[in-house]
């Protein structure tokens, strides 16, 4: 594979890399394709015909829109709470020494390093015992905020580390109060990191299903709605249409946030997806 003076990748390596890329994207293409198929309950290939009918059916379903709105609401509130808690925490842990600091840094990561089911049933049993709040939007938010804190935290800590301590000193030397320094120096520096962290937290929350299963009330979030209609025999392409909506709602902001973060030198921090307990931001390091 590695030859003495070649800087070009070998043929085998190129082929293998290309195949893996195709493997990653082929299923997404299938989702798009079958959103347009004319068949209502099977997935023959190639599809016998293409239609926009399923988009009409999907958009007309009020229960889908209810789930969609609930997911939007939950994701917005969870991301906001994560921004608040995560950035405060980052401010405290960054460059302060106190008892239990290392332990705290470990605990922050736990909600996404442990399987999501752990977070789910632990919170559910506590909510059951305390009997408050009633199962519903707030209990979902509690679950989501727990694993979203680390996303914002990692983004903000990464930014604070990269920020020169000189700017804070310069601000103080020029007579700014602590508040003014925070308001006019620190906050503008953190803005994009907060935004990127918030967007990633939003996307993670919007797609989450494992923790949600345990902490939700009777109203489904969008992923739960999709899961519930999955096994219905009729109008199957409707699921694909809703799946496309769900993917768009998370992919577009995340892509923008990644571009934004790269612009301000932060790309890579703040990973996580998949099944609720998806990933630690620490574990998917900066790729550059």
């Amino acid at each position: 594979m590695i030859t003495r003076d070649s800087t070009d990748a070998g043929f085998g390596l190129k082929v293998a890399s290309t195949l893996v890329m195709i493997f990653l994207y082929f299923p997404l293409a299938i989702i798009v394709l079958y959103a347009f198929t004319t068949q209502s309950s099977s997935f023959t290939f190639p599809p016998p015909g293409l239609t926009l009918e399923w988009f009409r059916v999907a958009f007309g379903r009020e229960d889908m829109w209810q789930a969609f709105r609930l997911s939007l609401l939950v994701a917005s509130v969870s991301a906001s709470m994560a921004i608040l808690l995560g950035s405060l925490l980052a401010g405290a842990v960054y460059r302060s020494r106190f008892f239990g600091r290392e332990a705290l840094a470990f605990i922050i990561v736990l909600p996404i390093a442990l399987p999501g089911i752990v977070t789910g049933i632990a919170l559910r049993s506590t909510i059951g015992i305390v009997d408050f709040p009633p199962l519903g939007i707030w209990t979902i938010v509690i679950g989501h905020t727990t694993f979203c804190i680390v996303i914002v935290y990692n983004n903000v800590v990464a930014r604070l580390r990269r920020m020169s301590p000189n700017v804070v000193e310069a601000s103080a030397d020029l007579g700014a109060s602590g508040w003014q320094t925070f308001r006019h120096v620190i906050l503008p520096n953190l803005a994009t990191a907060l935004l990127a962290g918030g967007v990633l937290a939003f996307a993670l929350s919007f797609d989450e299903i494992i923790v949600t299963t345990f902490t939700r009330g009777s109203d489904p979030t969008l992923p739960i709605w999709i899961f519930n209609v999955l096994f219905r025999p009729r109008n199957r392409p409707v699921t694909n249409v809703v799946a496309l909506i769900a993917v768009t709602v998370t992919i577009v902001p995340v892509l923008l946030a990644q571009m934004l973060a790269r612009g301000s030198d932060d790309a890579g921090s703040g990973m996580g997806a998949g099944s609720g307990a998806a990933s630690t931001t620490a574990a998917i390091p900066d790729p550059r």
Binding site: L13, A16, S17, V20, A113, V118, T146, G274, S275
Partner: protein, 312 residues
């Protein structure tokens, strides 16, 4: 008027910041308190509560939970049915992890060694994006790929290989009544879903290997295979371990996929879900959860020893 209000506010904020400046501990406390209460109180408290639950038991006839300390729930884990669930889940997680490592390496290696700076960022985004599309959606895609008459059967039919697939599906242990109902499909979908989690840390680890190491190795007469085994692989190990933490942990705790793929045989997450949601046996569900946690903690300890945390 507006000006004086602004002055007053600045004066107030200056006072507050002055207080914080004179009492740095108060500021630290205020910053720490909300998140610490949340994570230590709510989250860790909940897990501790779960641990307590696993030492309780359920009364067989009444279905009520008996709140006296007992190890009987953990003993139940060793019943053949439950033990098989744990072993089945463990081997699935291990198989998925190994497969992900093999699939991830070439692309990670290409990204780290040959891609231009810009190309690498594009590839990085391309690997990242599937992770950010709902995992349910991606699993749904595979049900449509694996369907009878679907694209996989169509493609294999064109190649004249559909008979091979049918033989594979009918194989003992891994097979099932159809492709979707076989362990093979469950395995492939897990592998697909978690693959990016493996690619990214390996890529990051490989990126830190200086090209001169490889040149030095070949200058000293090592063939590519030897360089790979002795130089590349050891240096990629922390990334491999970091990635495997995810592939392993995520497979261990998942309960959605086994309802969509595979036979009626249960996996750990499903059993937890059923015990807590259907049977109402919270102690047994808690005990199963702690098996998953224990496996992960052993895994994390080994990973830490192997130096994977430094590369995180």
């Amino acid at each position: 008027m507006a000006l004086s209000q602004r002055d007053r506010r600045n004066g107030f904020m200056a006072g507050v910041s002055g207080f914080f400046y004179r009492h740095p501990w108060s500021k630290l406390l205020l910053l720490l308190l909300p998140a610490v209460l949340w994570l230590m109180g709510l989250y860790l408290g909940s897990i501790a509560g779960l641990l307590v639950n696993s030492f309780w038991s359920i009364e067989e006839f009444t279905g009520l939970i008996d709140r006296t300390f007992t190890l009987s729930t953990y003993r139940d884990l060793f019943e053949p049915y439950n033990r098989d669930i744990v072993l089945r889940t463990f081997f699935m997680a291990a198989a998925v992890t190994v497969a992900c490592a093999f699939l991830a390496f070439p692309l990670a290696y290409y990204m780290a060694r040959y891609a231009t700076r810009r190309g690498r960022f594009v590839l990085y985004l391309a690997v990242l994006m599937p992770l950010w599309s709902s995992y349910l959606v991606r699993a749904l895609a595979w049900r449509q790929i694996f369907a009878r008459g679907g694209v996989l059967y169509w493609a294999l039919g064109k190649l004249g290989l559909d008979g091979v697939l049918d033989t594979l599906v009918q194989a003992p242990v891994v097979g099932g009544s159809s492709l979707i109902a076989s362990k093979i499909s469950l395995f492939i979908v897990y592998m697909y879903l978690w693959l990016p989690f493996m690619i990214l840390p390996i890529e990051a680890a490989l990126e830190r290997v200086p090209g001169s190491f490889l040149e030095a190795s070949s200058d000293l007469g090592a063939r590519p295979g030897l360089t790979f085994r002795r130089i590349v692989l050891p240096l990629a190990k922390p990334g491999l371990i970091a990635g495997s933490i995810f592939t392993f942990s995520l497979t261990l705790g998942d309960f959605i996929l086994p309802t969509m793929f595979g036979s009626s045989e249960f996996y750990l997450g499903q059993q937890v879900f059923t015990q807590i949601g259907v049977v109402g046996n919270t102690p047994l569900a808690a005990a199963f959860t702690f098996v998953a946690m224990a496996i992960m903690i052993v895994y994390l300890t080994i990973a830490k020893r192997a130096g994977a945390f430094e590369s995180l």
